[in-house]
Amino acid sequence: MLCAVSPPFLIPSSLSLITANQTLWQPLNHAVLLKTRSRVALVRFSALKVVLGFYEKIREPYIVLLPETLPFVAELMQDTDEHVERLTHQLSKLLEQLSGESLDDALKK
């Protein structure tokens, strides 16, 4: 049956899935990322651990939220707490691995 449906009819539905994914993930991702700006280092670390968990569990599909995540990662790279800083480097490595490109330039901006 699928062969009878021409590709142009399939493309919009796949695009709508991506949009729907983002619609649900975006508020969650943003809410967790905001916690990485907490005054308490342990809360920042925990929030970062959750973000890392998102990328480790969902992997490539979650990379659509990379542009939103990068400014927060760039901030956390210079965190005063060494545990947070170390975890941020771990996250940036994973992001580079999933996106397939170096994020050095993006993180310096």
């Binding site: 993930w25 508020p27 969650l28 809410a31 005054r39 809360v43 968990g53 569990k57």
Partner: protein, 151 residues
Amino acid sequence: MDHCVSYLQWADLSVSCKAARKAHSREAPAAKKRRTTTTTTAAAAADSESSSEDAWLDAVTATGGSVRDQIAVCDQVVRALHQVFVVDAQLHFMGKEKFDRLLPVLVGQLEWSYYVRPSAEQYKTFVHALLAPAIVEMAALMGNFVCTPSS
């Protein structure tokens, strides 16, 4: 679901009230600098809360509720939600409305539970064993949710 949200909010409100009380009842001791900093933040937020919440907390405490009970209930609620997220890929119980209701209270626990737990170690255990896996599982379920025909 309503009970889950209200239990998680309960923890939030009681923390705000307690933080406000601490801020009013004592001067900031240097030995408890970490707690004092966080108390100030929570107190600022709590100032905007109505006095009826404080009265409500008193009523809850008077009927036998305690911080320890709240922590235990909160742990159980988060554990139960984690299980719901794990099995929901087949059950389709969750929906956008439920996600929208749970998101703020569940993510809020990242910060609120820091103030309500007696020690940093207990907070770490709670986050790493219960809260973080639950939030991550919720995100994974959100990904499955939009791909299911029923949604």
